[in-house]
């Protein structure tokens, strides 16, 4: 139906029409019961080792005090050689990393080159600074490119930090303690994986917003090893998604086999035209 009060096509991008309404509604409720966005309340960590980068994350997503997702995937794909862990508002990290991945894919198709981690960091920084922290995405980007192994962290206001080991999220202080103690330059792969696992474990133990399983993603020059889950929680429930009965549940009383007699009536051979 054609409306007479629409005089221009609406601008694309974020729409702030409901902001005034929302602030008026908040006043009505007297400071409570407004819907809270799904936060990931997380522990994420990253470590640069001799041959590449190891990223680790827990798998719990919370919505204020309720665990909303026990199997949340917090390590997002950006490019074949770059992965990103995201903490903060779940939808924001998801969409921001998807946009980054699309932009880097367009770039690598246009130029024929593999994207570099520093390009992803710059794109994220510009995007997040433009929105002045309203997009709640705390991200750890790690990857291996032609210039080496890199690990960056990007804050919601667009701040960038480049260090060999990083943690973010609500459990970051506990995990950072483990990394500060155990990190050495040029670690071996197994030691690096164990270090990240212990760091995420410390975050899970000390923070209510982190929990359930631990995911690990190892990025090297040869390829990516996304181990999900690397370590399952001891308190997982054994609910199965499919309820199929094992063969042998119903006892077999009698069995009768009647072979079908088939006779060849007509046989035609047609040559396939492979010209």
């Amino acid at each position: 139906m054609a409306l007479s009060n629409v005089l221009e096509t609406p601008a694309s991008g974020f729409n702030f029409d409901n902001a005034a309404r929302n602030s008026a509604l908040e006043g009505l409720f007297g400071g409570g019961q407004t819907p809270k966005p799904l936060k990931t309340g997380t522990t994420i960590a990253g470590v640069v080792f001799k041959d590449g980068v190891v990223l680790g994350a827990d798998t719990r997503a919370t919505s204020s005090e309720v665990v909303a997702d026990k199997q949340c995937a917090k390590i997002h794909y950006i490019a074949p050689n770059i992965y990103c862990c995201g903490a903060g508002t779940a939808a924001d990290t998801e969409k921001t990393t998807e946009l980054l991945s699309s932009n880097l894919a367009i770039f690598s198709l246009n130029s024929g080159r593999n994207p570099r981690v520093v390009m992803g960091v710059n794109i994220l920084q510009d995007m997040l600074y433009r929105y002045h922290g309203q997009i709640g995405a705390n991200l750890i980007l790690g990857g291996v490119d032609c210039t080496g192994n890199h690990l960056y962290s990007v804050g919601p206001y667009g701040s960038v930090n480049k260090v060999p080991y990083l943690t973010m999220g609500s459990g970051d202080l506990a995990a950072l303690g483990i990394l500060e103690d155990g990190f050495r330059p040029d670690l071996e792969l197994e030691k690096a994986k164990e270090l990240v696992r212990v760091a995420i474990h410390a975050g899970i133990m000390s923070d209510l917003g982190s929990g359930n399983n631990i995911d690990i993603c190892v990025i090297t020059k040869e390829g990516v090893d996304y181990i999900r889950p690397y370590r399952e929680s001891e308190y997982r429930d054994n609910r199965k998604m499919k309820y199929k009965y094992r063969p042998g549940t119903t006892p077999v009383l009698t069995e009768k086999v009647v072979p079908l007699k088939l006779e060849v009536v007509q046989e035609t051979v047609q040559q396939m035209d492979t010209a």
Partner: protein, 129 residues
């Protein structure tokens, strides 16, 4: 919270058109309801201004002048207001034809739920309303 002047309706004499726009309050016209509202509305304008002034300082007056002339030419060849134009020439000039941002995903005008009345939209665009 600083009052700003960019939110007033731009009708004749700056008066709110109650028939079409509904009731308004002074507060809505002076104070932005969201901290990002004003900066997002003028984002591309401000970025272009900044880039063109840097270009003028580096390369002289002719460079931004020629670019702006090309932008104006590309902006004039769109379709009528109520139809979707692809803005291909404008995107190519700006360099935004190989970048995806939130403005390509959210509130796509091609999928807008509200349709305007074509005669009114053309009259508004021509300034006859």
């Amino acid at each position: 919270i600083v009052p700003v002047a960019g939110l007033c309706p731009q009708g004749a004499y700056g008066v709110q058109d109650s028939l079409r726009g509904g009731f308004s309050s002074v507060k809505n016209e002076l104070l932005p309801s969201h901290p990002l509202e004003l900066s997002e509305k003028n984002f591309h304008l401000n970025q272009d201004k900044m880039n063109l002034s840097t270009l003028r300082n580096i390369q002289g007056l002719h460079a931004p002048l020629k670019l702006q002339m090309e932008y104006r030419a590309a902006r004039q060849i769109q379709r009528l207001p109520f139809l979707q134009s692809s803005h291909l020439a404008l995107d190519t000039l700006r360099g935004s034809d190989d970048v995806i941002g939130f403005e390509d995903i959210l509130s796509d005008p091609a999928q807008s739920e509200m349709m305007g009345e074509p005669h009114l939209m053309v009259e508004y665009k021509l300034g006859l309303l």
